[in-house]
Symmetry: C2
Subunit: 201 residues, 2 copies
């Protein structure tokens, strides 16, 4: 399999960590891929992902699987033990809802990265940036309130990648001071092989 | 069940259409919900979705299910025949990949709605708007190339909602002239009960 990849993307990191946790990473070739607003990459958008986003997974029959959440579910299926995503019942919806909330943190953080770094200064809109920070804080508070110690399911892997992205791109955002449980939990998570081996910097 | 709802959202429409197609709509109470950049809605973000996005589904035990894609999978599970999403095999990944691409059209179109309508004129960035239109066109071309006549799976329902949103918010975007197969397909789709009953206007 080929994973279209950039280490800076939290969505890519989520898939990469998942592949490591599932013991599938040796079956995956990482294909470095550059996508960025305003930079055309026709080879990628014509052949792999018309949305021009990463990650994308190309499986051995040539099919493309998108997006990061579908790829994680595919890898979970391939491994066969439902390690990342419970197969059925209330646990499945609880885990996938947490996964969606962690994805929302990544979306908001990536949106603020575009707004405060890539967008020319004269076109930046403070209200938008503040709105994304509000979403991020509300979602982190939601996870803080869960007081979960789990580190194995896709909601927790995604949360770790979201926090890692905040540390990577917004080092001044002092989330550890506000979310004491998440701070301790992330400390443990950051010692895992999967987290260490996928660090963006 | 309660669906937190606004008729203008293509993601909400996807869930609403799915519920109709699955014969579950009578079990769902629609709860009109206003979320918008810069407008606080603490009741919703504290109690339902910390990301402040719609849709959200509240099921009868009080649990919340997020996001639109997870809700569709939940409803598909509830109905029990895997009508929207094949249970397993290559067909599952093909349908969910199409679903992700249609979601990407919605994301890009909603982003352009924010950029060209909600964002103050002096802060608008043409490069961003053009980038989203490129994504939308590439994704529509991808669907055009599929030449699919199917109307029942979640990829097709999502595509119908994405096209409906383009008609609703960007009536000048003449996609029918460029995508002849999609134009005919959408015409048939627009005659279905589920599509008609969920029209935003």
């Amino acid at each position: 399999m080929k994973l279209y990849f950039a280490a800076a993307s939290p969505f890519v990191r989520k898939v990469h960590m998942s592949a490591i946790e599932l013991g599938l990473v040796k079956q995956i070739e990482l294909v470095s891929t550059h996508v960025s607003p305003g930079k055309e990459n026709a080879t990628y958008t014509d052949g792999i992902n018309p949305l021009g986003k990463i990650p994308a997974l190309e499986i051995d029959d040539g099919s493309i699987i998108l997006d990061s959440s579908v790829i994680c579910e595919y890898l979970n299926h391939l491994e066969g033990n439902n390690t990342l995503i419970p197969e059925r019942g209330p646990e499945r919806w609880r885990v996938q809802t947490g996964h969606a909330i962690a994805n929302g943190i990544m979306d908001a953080a990536v949106s603020n990265r575009y707004e405060t770094f890539m967008r020319p200064e004269e076109y930046r809109w403070d209200l938008w940036v503040n709105e994304q920070w509000a979403k991020i804080n509300q979602a982190l508070q939601w996870f803080e309130n869960q007081k979960s110690d789990s580190m194995e399911t896709i909601d927790q892997i995604s949360l770790a990648c979201a926090l890692g992205y905040l540390d990577f791109r917004f080092a001044d955002f002092a989330w550890r001071e506000r979310y004491a449980h998440l701070s301790l939990w992330h400390q443990r998570m950051s010692e895992t092989t999967a987290y260490r081996e996928t660090a963006p910097d």
